[in-house]
Symmetry: C2
Subunit: 240 residues, 2 copies
């Protein structure tokens, strides 16, 4: 039966050859006699799937060994919470540039956690119609968070913001990840919900500088701690 | 090609007719010309999938309108955290019966959150070889949490613990959900990672008494708040 032209903003349209391979693996993974969904995430075949996916992302974006690629659950929505929980200690201020609906949601979750939040720039007064060219960071910033592309308002960062090297630059790249070249080295952490551009919902890709993993707050819950997932090579619990 | 006999403790072995239907829907969902993975979770076809799954669970377990069925992400591991975060206020004590590895993990996350935790009974000293028949609840208990079946030690609750009605009884049923009749009405909340018994990894089934949803702590992060998922009928963000 014919497939339609699908103009959805997301979930991603997947290439037919990918769907056909997934379809085959869903019933009998590479002749093993079981579905990929029935395999233990502790099996060597499953490990190979995860490791080769990590490697493919590293290769495509030219990412070195100073970064970890992680697959986590809960979508970008859960990252709005885990970013400040892990990387904003109580004596620092989480900085955000507010360029749209998702950026607003991200900074609201930081506030809800009780973190000090500073909006370094915002285009809200002008209905998010542009990307600010200037911003003012707070004193003692924990990080600067941006939303690389604003699906709803159609504005996008075409150059990466330049900030002092010692301040982690963090970006939600859910809606433009893998759509263009990105110099990941300019970022300390980026995250992208898989369903928007690169695959089915359920996984979120995180690329994080190993250096940043050394600065995680104390008492972060196990499953929300980036180090848990880095130490387990994304296999702390069963992947979707 | 033949499918093998699969004796894995989990993920679940899925019935061939289910796999074949999923396989067809993966390429072209019911003749719509797109994969189920490419559909918007705001479409009426997708809504129908979620609603009919909620209804099927309610029908199978005879659950009335005083309960909500939710699909959440992050597996049982994330529930270890969300249960105390939502239902243990600072002036109450979270009670646990410790019967194995997963029960221990659950109570550790409550402690990590800074909650007061009371172990009402434990079989740890005897290598988790039995289910305690007696327990002592703390004063001012927020809830009693049990782990219905202990995959690693092979012990299982064959009768439901009887506690005063005003104390919520909460159970991790990941490894025996849908394997036997359960009187859900005895519980205020149960959760089960789907991958163990009923489907692929990524979703966790939560069945929660509406009454309990009125008692959620303040300032629970949006995505970890059970009310968010109840209000959105499990469609707050894209389901895996």
């Amino acid at each position: 039966m014919e497939r339609v032209h699908n103009f959805n903003a997301g979930p991603a349209v997947l290439p037919e050859e990918v769907l056909l391979e997934a379809q085959a693996d869903l019933f009998n993974y590479k002749g093993m006699g079981l579905s990929v969904m029935e395999m233990s995430h502790r099996s060597k075949e499953y490990e190979e799937i995860i490791n080769s996916s990590h490697d493919a992302i590293k290769r495509i974006y030219g990412i070195g060994d100073d970064y970890e690629v992680l697959f986590m659950q809960g979508g970008a929505t859960l990252q709005f919470l885990t970013v400040p929980m892990n990387f904003c200690p109580d004596d620092k201020i989480a900085n955000y540039i507010n360029t749209g609906v998702w950026a607003t949601k991200a900074l609201k979750e930081a506030k809800k956690l009780g973190k000090k939040v500073h909006v370094a720039a915002s285009s809200e007064a002008d209905k998010f119609s542009y990307i600010p060219k200037e911003w003012t960071l707070s004193e003692n910033p924990a990080y600067l968070h941006i939303t690389n592309n604003n699906t709803i308002y159609g504005t996008e960062w075409h150059t990466d913001p330049v900030i002092p090297k010692e301040i982690p630059l963090i970006s939600d790249m859910s809606s433009n990840f893998m759509s263009k070249p990105i110099d990941i080295n300019k970022y300390s952490l980026i995250y992208a919900g898989a369903q928007k551009n690169i695959g089915p919902a359920g996984a979120v890709v995180v690329i994080v500088k190993k250096e940043l993993l050394e600065k995680i707050n104390t008492n972060v819950p196990t499953i929300l701690n980036y180090k848990t997932h880095a130490d387990a090579a994304s296999m702390h619990n069963t992947q979707p």
